[in-house]
Amino acid sequence: MTAPPLVDDAALVAASRDDPERFTGVYDRHFAAVRRYVAARLGPEAADDVAAETFLAAFRRRAEFDPGRGVVRAWLFGIATRLVGEHRRVEERRYRTLARLGPGRPEDGPEERVADAFDARLAQPRLAAALRTLSRKERDVLLLAAFTDLARDDIAAALGIPVGTVDSRLNRARGRLRAALSPTKGT
């Protein structure tokens, strides 16, 4: 069996203009990472949809992809971040639920879910409480940094902001989180 030809992401996207099914190659390479990022922000259920939508949106706009403006991965995470932004209420709700859920506490009413309780326990409720205090723009940068291997300039490209802005938002967001996680300080 011969090794598959080495094709980089951008070439795959370009090929998919004429041969749409080639785009599934982009999906196979990046879906898990995108879905993980979206799940962190919206929870597992919403993430299934939004991550799938990300690739549908990217597919429909594949003719617009410009390799000069960044790598495919940054482009995909930029689309995912915009879609996450359309579900701001879901995201707020998720952090609120995670912040309140905890071992042995009554869950937060009717929307209680084992999956959320699970996430809350693994991630520590105070982390979610700290995420609630960040602006959406800060969360965009912070969660891209935590969930992707994108470099600073890739994150800048994904969000369409200057690299300096990425740095300042990330610093501030990390500082907030560090303070919240510090064992000596409560939130």
Binding site: P20, F23, L98, L122
Partner: protein, 420 residues
């Protein structure tokens, strides 16, 4: 631990079926596009949020058309201050009669809901409970697409949880801010309310509501939402509704919710990578009460569906009836109550000693006996202990109140008046 590393616990790799279903959607799209060249401007397809996305804010069903009539039978009256003895599940709770002439109708469906959670205060003058994390949400969805939707929210003042708690609060000097222990950190709630905030994310089209049934959980086969016509096509038979509303729990949802709290983290991480290895199970009575509450609050169910659903809930093993209860707004009601569960709070998250220990609580739905409307979903202390050692059985630990809601022709606007 590094703070970025800590964040990665928020999500794990997707399950194989998630990957496969997303790929199938893309493949279908790619096949459709195979004949046509890629266009420069992508078609933006608006997908309404899936049903579960609504639950945080909960569209309400009230102004209910179903009429609940109390019967005698084994329904248990709640002893003063008590959670009520376990009673029968022989269906004696409600004789629910759907009244066709009370069919809901109107241009907008709206809901006004209040959420709160109790926290303990332990001053030297004596312990008391307050309700914190107190908020009110107001939302509407037009019956027609053109009628749009809207969403508002505001924080409500924290307040003593009951008359007895209010007396202890006054003995403590009537403080206006409360430092509480919340899971793994301290937080401060105050007696201040905020103004209504119009959330632009809530503005959108009308005509779509969260849908009922197992499909709403599926990313691919999904009825992600339902129209008024869709609700009209639902079965009215309790058994058929029970099948829709109480599906087998699979994946993560199949974990024992209490067992998950005690599971070692390595085990949790392992399961997160392979949720398919968790054996499916039936829903617990508590989960059924929660699912029923969500449907009754979030969906404009036709009266016969609604009454069928209430009968289905009442017929579930582990669900019983308690009469003569009051909801947190003081409204008289009849409750459907799930068997209590016992919880133990440990020091795992730095929880102070006084907040640790074991108690039992139960999930309840309180209905208006005259109209059948859902008044409140609440979590009630069954057996005091641990953090709630100083509280009495029947004390409300958290609530989700339906302040008002239903169909209306007037354009809905949130009420200025505070509920408490």
């Amino acid at each position: 631990m590094d703070e970025l590393e800590a964040l990665t616990a928020l999500a794990a790799n997707p399950a194989p079926q998630t990957v496969a279903s997303g790929r199938a959607r893309l493949e279908a799209e790619a096949r459709r596009a195979a004949g046509a060249p890629a266009r420069l401007s992508g078609r933006r397809r608006f997908l309404p949020p899936r049903a579960t996305l609504f639950t945080g804010f909960g569209l309400t069903l009230a102004g209910a058309a179903a009429v609940a009539v109390l019967t005698s039978g084994t329904a248990t009256p709640r002893a003063p201050g008590g959670p009520g003895a376990p009673g029968g599940t022989d269906g004696s709770f409600l004789e629910v009669a759907a009244k066709a002439d009370l069919l809901p109708s109107g241009r907008y469906w709206y809901s006004d809901e209040i959420q709160g959670q109790s926290y303990m205060q332990r001053p030297k003058s004596g312990p008391y409970a307050i309700i914190g994390a107190h908020s009110e949400t107001y939302q509407y969805v037009g019956a027609q697409r053109k009628d749009g939707s809207g969403f508002w929210g505001r924080d409500l003042p924290s307040r003593p949880a009951s008359a007895g708690d209010a007396a202890a609060w006054r003995r403590a000097g009537s403080p206006s801010s409360f430092r509480v222990w919340s899971n793994d950190h301290h937080w401060t709630y105050t007696t201040k309310a905020t103004a209504w905030e119009d959330d632009p994310a809530g503005r959108g089209m009308g005509g779509r509501f969260p849908g009922l049934g197992p499909d709403r959980k599926s990313a691919t086969t999904g009825k992600k939402s339902m129209t008024v016509e869709g609700f009209a096509a639902l079965p009215t038979d309790p058994a058929a509704l029970a099948e829709l509303l109480f599906p087998k729990m699979t994946g993560f949802d199949a974990l024992d919710p209490l067992g998950a709290n005690r599971m070692p983290k390595e085990e949790m991480l392992r399961l997160k990578q392979n949720p398919g290895s968790i054996p499916p199970r039936d829903m617990t009575p508590r989960e059924k009460i929660s699912a029923g509450g969500t449907a009754l609050k979030d969906m404009p169910l036709p009266p016969k569906v609604r009454s069928g659903l209430m009968r289905a809930l009442a017929a579930q093993p582990g669900v019983h009836t308690v009469k003569n209860v009051r909801d947190p707004l003081g409204r008289e009601g009849v409750a459907l109550v799930a068997d209590p569960v016992t919880r133990t709070v440990t020091g795992e998250y730095g929880t102070p000693k006084v907040e640790q220990g074991t108690y039992s609580e139960q999930e309840e739905l309180v209905f208006d006996p005259k109209t059948g409307a859902l008044l409140s979903q609440q979590n009630v202390l069954a057996r005091p202990g641990g953090p709630y050692a100083a509280r009495k059985p029947g004390a409300v630990l958290s609530y989700w109140i339906v302040r008002s809601g239903g169909w209306t022709d007037a354009e809905p606007t949130p009420p200025a008046k505070l509920p408490f």
